[in-house]
Assembly symmetry: C2
DNA sequence: TTGCCAATCCCTCAAAAACGGGATATTTTC
DNA sequence: GAAAATATCCCGTTTTTGAGGGATTGGCAA
């Protein structure tokens, strides 16, 4: 069984690297590559590969959005996310948007092959490293309400409760309540640690 | 003139990609590769390439430190920094530690060749993108003193002035002064915006 | 040697945040 | 239709901060 593989990544070096890793593999057929989301989509109008290796960061559109769009239009294509770092939030979002696997860019050829073969059969591939991160992330998963997100953004912007209240047309007491809830959710003891944690978790 | 090139990067895909990009170039001789700082250093004991392509992020040691070490031991080797993103602070530090150039991982083959050839002659290569970032960074360059960095870290950790003072064996008034200076340097109006800005500028 | 800068410490006062409650209305979900 | 989540508001008290000052020491460089 031969699987055709397409790759979307804005780094030539990575495209070349993967091509080089896969070129002598019997089970792999090189469908082509794109360096941005737009040319990936136009390629898919003419030809559907079995598997797409998709970088999460691209100039015109994030891999996360592209993944969603591709899966909506072509549900039969299997997508493997690619990224340099173990970024908790990205992996989750990529999987939520229909990716079947996630591979780090330091993967070995064997891992990559394993991922492609599994995913092409409709299964899911997550390397040990990735699934460890994913598990950790789920434990510490923080869900913010719409209002809490707004308040958090404005706190990070340096506004006081009164200023935030004015901006959102609510009383400063309400802002204070949201603030308390944010501190509780992030297990932060004050504004400084709240912003640090939220920033590192990429809420802001 | 033939230049021998060695590469240090913890991502196989990138190593493969660069090898693939360079393999048919007449002026390039492939000296070898390493996936971590330690094996790079042990390679250099036996053989010195003309140019080292060095990733900034590696498991055992940052490219920034490795760059410094290599240049101290083998000043004749020219180093080109490699990274995925245009990270202001890293580029500067890499150049400060003796790198002769900086290339983004989305560089084309032509750019890479140009960089290697220029750098091997002792010149400096910075792609347009990179030098733009560097210039922008210099404008908004914020220099913190040792103490200010320590205080900033602890503020981000959620400690109060008194707690920070206890930790650093200084009075809380002193901490307050450092805090004021931090606010001024970052042009932040309060702790929340200070931490946000510092976090986004990767000071913490 | 004469500055400059970093680092240290002190003061006051007002503003803001943190902490501890409690309370009500409206959605959403089960 | 009841329960849970969300959003709204209020109180009082204590702690922390922000914004002004001013002052001393030691090191380094012009």
């Amino acid at each position: 069984m031969t699987n055709s593989v397409f790759i979307v990544d804005d780094h030539y070096m990575v495209i070349e690297g993967i091509r080089s890793l896969l070129q002598n593999e019997k089970g792999i057929e090189w469908a082509g590559h794109a360096t941005n989301a737009a040319s990936c989509l136009s390629f898919l109008q003419n030809q559907l590969p079995d598997v797409i290796l998709m970088d999460i960061s691209m100039p015109d559109k994030s891999g996360i959005d592209l993944c969603k769009e591709v899966k909506e239009k072509y549900p039969s294509v299997f997508i493997i996310g690619l990224s340099t770092f173990n970024q908790q939030s990205f992996i989750q979002k990529m999987m939520d948007n229909g990716a079947s696997g996630y591979v780090l860019k330091n993967a070995t050829q064997a891992e990559l092959m394993e991922a492609i073969e599994l995913v092409a059969k409709g299964k899911t591939y997550l390397s040990e490293e990735v699934s460890k991160v994913l598990r950790k992330q789920n434990d510490a998963h923080i869900v913010l309400t719409r209002r809490e997100k707004e308040v958090l953004e404005l706190i990070a912007g340096g506004l006081t409760n009164i200023e935030i209240g004015d901006k959102l047309f609510i009383s400063s007491s309400t802002v204070d309540t949201h603030r308390k809830n944010l501190l509780a959710k992030f297990q932060a003891k004050n504004t400084a640690s709240l912003i640090r944690i939220a920033s590192q978790m990429e809420f802001i």
